[in-house]
């Protein structure tokens, strides 16, 4: 995060900007896929780690932002 921002927000912005007309849940799944592919060094752990988002939805309709 120190140099380019957080993995989650930066990936989310990248994915949403690339295809803003797609359904939000699909886009978030793609964000999670990409974040899960990243390998990061934790602040107190020399070993590389992978993070994962938690997406909870109670939407009752499709949500497309464009």
């Amino acid at each position: 995060r120190d140099e380019t921002g957080s993995d989650f927000i930066q990936t989310l912005v990248e994915v949403f900007r690339a295809d803003p007309g797609r359904e939000v849940l699909e886009l978030l799944t793609e964000v999670n896929r990409r974040v899960c592919q990243l390998e990061v060094l934790g602040p107190d752990c020399p070993e590389r780690r992978k993070a994962c988002l938690e997406i909870r939805s109670s939407l009752r309709r499709r949500l497309c932002l464009q």
């Binding site: 927000i9 939000v24 992978k50 994962c52 949500l63 497309c64």
Partner: protein, 166 residues
């Protein structure tokens, strides 16, 4: 109070009507979070590109998190045109039990903020998007060589958190 409102039966193929105003609130603790400014800038630009009227507040204290959300509600309430979508991004350090830490180091529970906006009548039936960029405890995620046991899970609860299941 009728929580669901008199709306037609939703269908999974039907989209939310987003023809009304879209409003976004970005609350970010930047102090002590190097690089956080990059997130604020990127998210702010995205919100504008997606036609959200965006309000940004940096370095809110724990109390300011609540006050800004209350003010956001009031603005939506006073808005003359109908609001069709709200997006709230909460970005801060996180405590061991999932709390958000304000710029003053005090804690605020994100669930309380989510609940406050979710119960807001003017947004009833409208999609409300919450983005939380914060730690939710101190455990490290899984090692790269290990099993990805946190992925590919679709969790479906029979009731909302804190509510009974019928």
């Amino acid at each position: 109070v009728e929580p669901w409102g008199p709306e037609p039966e939703p269908s999974p193929t039907v989209r939310y009507d987003l023809s009304g105003t879209r409003a976004a609130l970005l609350l970010s603790v930047i102090h002590g979070r190097p690089g956080a400014q990059h997130d604020v800038e990127a998210l702010g630009t995205l919100c504008q590109a997606l036609s959200f009227k965006t309000t940004l507040r940096t370095d809110p204290t724990a109390q300011a998190f609540q006050e800004e959300l209350a003010q956001f509600r009031e603005c939506l309430d006073a808005h003359r045109a109908p609001v069709s979508c709200a997006l709230v991004a909460l970005m801060a350090h996180g405590g061991p039990q999932g709390q958000l830490l304000g710029a003053d180091g005090r804690e605020v529970r994100p669930e309380a903020l989510v609940q406050e906006l979710s119960r807001f009548r003017a947004l009833c039936g409208c999609p409300k998007i919450f983005l939380l960029q914060a730690c939710r405890g101190g455990s490290s995620p899984f090692p790269t060589a290990g099993s990805s046991d946190q992925a590919d899970i679709l969790t479906v609860y029979a009731a909302a958190e804190g509510c009974v299941a019928y």
